[in-house]
Symmetry: C2
């Protein structure tokens, strides 16, 4: 397999983008990544999108967006793994380059979620869970993560304050990100007094509904060294793993087995461990998610993720900053785009281009993007080339 | 890139499978392919599905079906390109094997289309066209293909009888396929007197709404020679191309540019031309589609596809049999599964295992699977190894 590098990234300002269509949002990010890479062609492209069908009534996104970019007849492939669609699109782009099938590949993610009413958005998101065994009985995602949170609290003593610490930290980071949807500070008190969604999760424990896109240009490492205007970033590992779709089928409600497995594979590929990382971008769709994720990645001991978050370990300036971008919580969560936006943040951090939210001496970053309650996880490790 | 081979295939009886769920339908085909290959593990899997969201309210299909198969934590990736989703899933599986990322990869396609009412199915299918520029104005797929048919008739003198000849031929083949949804003979008169859908296309010019799945096991060619119970079939070419999504953006309404481009790439990869093929499985979603496809593949001259179909050239026993399986028209068209079923038929033909519908001395077959009105096409060439 050829070694793979990222030489360009793009992302637009995320939020409720009512004046922009799905294809416009995507194109802004794609064009920025192409300009950032300084390439004059793209050989193939991948689009991560969770549900074009339910959110905007448009499937066939690979062809549509290749056309929109004026790049037909290049192959455009849409990839879906619920909220991990973006990370998986990036992984398929890496495989296409690694295989030798294509040289310059555009990896993108997009979701336009605000053009439907709240109930329809909740329904669309629920299709990431098990429709026959979970959703038909009325559960939605805040309810599923609330059960995971209750289990974590019961078994490991995780506290309401520790959940809040994740939101406080990520919003503090998001204030420093000019593209974030909610770049506002929140206090622990505000989180703990915000509207209840599914006990113990309150509205400020939840990531928002967002319109947005992100993109990255992937090439062989050899080509990156010759071609790139920017310092190339090497993809040191790309791993993907799955777990039972329905919570009831898991051995442990509050342990993310797919994340642990994907991380194990990724660490092995890159020849590194958690202690060798400068920072991580992870899937904090709910505050409890980040706590479980940092345990599964080996950044905190099992059951100690809450304490780790509250200790400042994972804040900017801490030992291992997590979500310097603001995470899903503050930056926003257009589900298909999130995984690619994690790649963008990681590339910019490794270039030293993140301004006030820059992680000092960043040399290696990990991204973790998951679907549903963790039935799929994609992990990448990126390094300065 | 490593050379790739197919060592196992599976497919269930297609039709209105009201007693079986989406996951059950998929699992039947997947298990048959695994048994046919004689492997005791799968390293990764791809699922082609057009719209799990709109047809059955279930996205996140890669994780769900890996779980359903009891194969978690293996990576399960869902790929979508409208009605070309299956062909594209097979292509991604080939790339994953070619790259060296995985050895034994299951390529699958599935769609359950009959659990919604007719209007909802028509809407779901319309998301393969351009929602903003075509569907909002009321057009559906029979209407789009009717415009292509009218253009072809106007410019090339294609006749109503020639359209009917495609349906007559494919139903005659389908009678010989025990898994076909509509294994019944039809006459040209029956086709031309059947209910009008969108002038000039009548109900017997249209492929049906279908539930079904298909699967194939892909491995490195070296491994195939050691591992397989069955004679391995080599993937000599895999190509994917796109075109404008909306018909109005095309230079020529009745020329399938994405099919011509994908075929050109595939012939070059395999080092062969149309005359070197023993047979083809192509995307006859409407009778006019097969006529345009055989022109774009170079099996007939431009504008002469109708005459070629009526001449018997493409019938079993003709010079280049097209759709020996019965095609989408008679076999059925569960949109995400179709591309993989084409691979299954091609593999079985190359094994000489097709009984009454066997193409004599079959040594090389081509599959052509397209999305929408041809905005995406995936072409594969398979050979006896």
């Amino acid at each position: 397999m050829r070694e793979v590098a990222v030489i360009g990234v793009g992302m637009n300002r995320w939020g409720e983008l009512w004046e922009k269509s799905h294809r416009t949002i995507w194109t802004e990010a794609a064009l920025e990544a192409i300009a950032d890479a300084g390439v004059d062609r793209v050989d193939a492209m991948y689009v991560g999108c969770m549900s074009g069908g339910l959110f905007v009534g448009q499937e066939h996104l690979g062809a549509m967006l290749a056309d929109q970019l004026g790049m037909g007849p290049i192959p455009g492939t849409r990839v879906e793994s619920a909220c991990a669609s973006g990370g998986l699109a990036f992984r398929q782009a890496c495989l296409a380059v690694a295989s030798g099938a294509h040289d310059i590949v555009l990896a993108t993610g997009v979701e336009k979620m605000t053009d439907v009413d709240g109930g329809a958005a909740t329904y669309a998101l629920s299709t990431a869970a098990d429709q026959e065994y979970e959703c038909y009985h009325g559960i939605t995602f805040p309810g599923l993560y609330a059960m995971m949170a209750r289990d974590h609290m019961h078994r490991h003593g995780t506290t309401r304050q520790q959940l809040a610490a994740v939101a406080v930290k990520n919003h503090a980071h998001g204030v420093l990100n000019p593209l974030a949807q909610f770049p506002m500070k929140v206090t622990a008190e505000q989180v703990m007094e915000s509207v209840m969604v599914a006990d113990p999760l309150r509205i400020l424990d939840c990531s928002p509904i967002t319109d947005g896109a992100a993109a990255a240009v992937v090439v062989p490492l050899d080509m990156a060294r010759q071609l790139s205007k920017q310092p190339p970033v090497r993809v040191a590992a790309s791993a993907h793993a799955t777990d039972a779709l329905a919570l009831h089928d898991r051995a442990d409600l509050s342990w993310l087995a797919s994340t642990a497995k994907a991380a194990e594979l990724a660490y092995k590929q890159a020849g590194v461990g958690p202690k060798d990382l400068s920072f991580c971008e992870v899937h904090d769709c709910f505050t409890i998610a980040e706590i479980m994720v940092i345990e599964a990645l080996g950044l905190a001991e099992r059951g100690k993720g809450g304490a780790a978050a509250a200790s400042g370990l994972t804040a900017l300036g801490g030992k291992i900053p997590v979500n310097p971008s603001g995470g899903l919580k503050s930056k926003g969560h257009p589900v298909g785009a999130t995984g690619v936006a994690q790649i963008r943040e990681t590339v910019l951090q490794l270039r030293g281009a993140c301004g006030q939210r820059q992680v000092k001496n960043a040399s290696r970053g990990l991204t973790q993007n998951m679907g549903g309650t963790g039935a799929s996880t994609v992990v990448h490790i990126l390094e300065r080339a």
